[in-house]
């Protein structure tokens, strides 16, 4: 079966994100003060797998081996509905 998957890569809690900080400052300047701002990167991937669980397992391996850097990132993979 073809399984569409959405992978979200974001920085781990506590890792300084200078880009997010700059964006937060710019929003404040525009009159939108924010309590918290972080961003994430989304990947939309379709894989061929016997089950959804097998597809998710492939996606997690993709994160471990390339898409995320475990030193600074966390990731989540889910079947896209």
């Amino acid at each position: 079966m073809k399984v569409p998957i959405q992978i979200t890569i974001s920085l781990k809690e506590g890792i300084l994100d200078p880009e997010a900080r700059a964006i937060q400052h710019a929003l404040t300047d525009l009159g939108f003060p924010t309590e918290k701002l972080s961003n994430a990167r989304l990947f939309f991937i379709t894989v061929e797998a016997p089950t959804e669980e097998a597809a998710l397992s492939q996606a997690r391996q993709m994160c471990e081996r390339l898409l995320a850097n475990p030193v600074i990132h966390r990731y989540a993979a889910e079947v896209a509905r």
């Binding site: 390339l66 850097n69 030193v71």
Partner: protein, 231 residues
């Protein structure tokens, strides 16, 4: 004795590094296109600076997963030297040759300027021509050079003297003002456990002749040559 410099698409310090090694230091050095493979054994490999794969995904991430890196890992496992400079350091960290990673500078812009770094460990194949505590002047040029590691890793690096260089001022004192990329503990050069891999953000090839304004970086290449000569 023969050194190799690996060229990826987007490497742009390959020829400068070749000049420093071949013409300035007099060591036979091959330029190796990453798709060609190593083809022979080398005494030392240098992964040069640049923007391999346009820094897509993360600086160094894609180059680190190319087949030639398996040959580079085999070279390291055999106990031979690997120096990663700037993008080469990012590629090396993405290949997990040392723990931690180099990520976007705390001020998230490309920085190109002179920096002073302090030699923290002069008892390595890359730093033996310096003395411990010596301050050397070498330029930096990067956007993703902020070294990050877990507290556990930092402790281990300190305990086993695996920090090669820290940013400092001309007097050799590390302060936030001279830690241009915001690296943890001012670190900008990290060694592997065996001291056979050095990953560093500053560019020694750009400070290898007096005409550049500093030849402080040449000592890294000379140390490597002396290590290989010693056998």
């Amino acid at each position: 004795m023969r050194f190799a410099i690996i060229q990826f698409g987007g490497s742009n310090c390959d020829l400068d590094t070749h000049h420093a090694l071949q013409d300035v230091c007099g060591v036979d050095t091959d330029l190796v296109w990453y798709k060609e493979g190593l083809g022979r054994t080398y005494d030392a490999i240098i992964i040069p600076g640049g923007f391999s794969y346009g820094d897509y995904l993360r600086a160094g991430a894609i180059a680190a997963r190319t087949p030639i890196m398996e040959e580079v890992l085999a070279h390291v496992w055999a106990g031979r030297l690997l120096l990663g400079i700037c993008n080469g350091a990012q590629i090396g960290a993405e290949s997990r040759l040392v723990p931690g990673t180099f990520t976007i500078n705390s001020y998230p812009k490309f920085i190109c300027r002179w920096s002073c770094i302090r030699v923290e460990n002069a008892d390595t194949p890359f730093t033996s021509s310096y003395r411990e505590g010596q301050v050397i002047r070498i330029p930096i040029a990067h956007k993703e050079g902020r070294y990050i590691a877990s507290p556990f890793t930092l402790k281990e690096l300190n305990t086993y003297h695996r920090i090669a260089f820290r940013f400092c001022n001309r007097e050799g004192i590390s302060t936030p003002e001279v830690n241009f990329n915001g690296s943890m503990e001012h670190i900008t050069g990290v060694l592997n456990k065996q001291n056979t891999v050095l990953l560093m953000m500053p560019h020694p090839e750009r400070a290898s002749e007096k005409v550049f304004g500093s030849d402080d970086g040449r000592g890294i290449f000379e140390s490597m040559i002396a290590h290989v000569e010693k056998g």
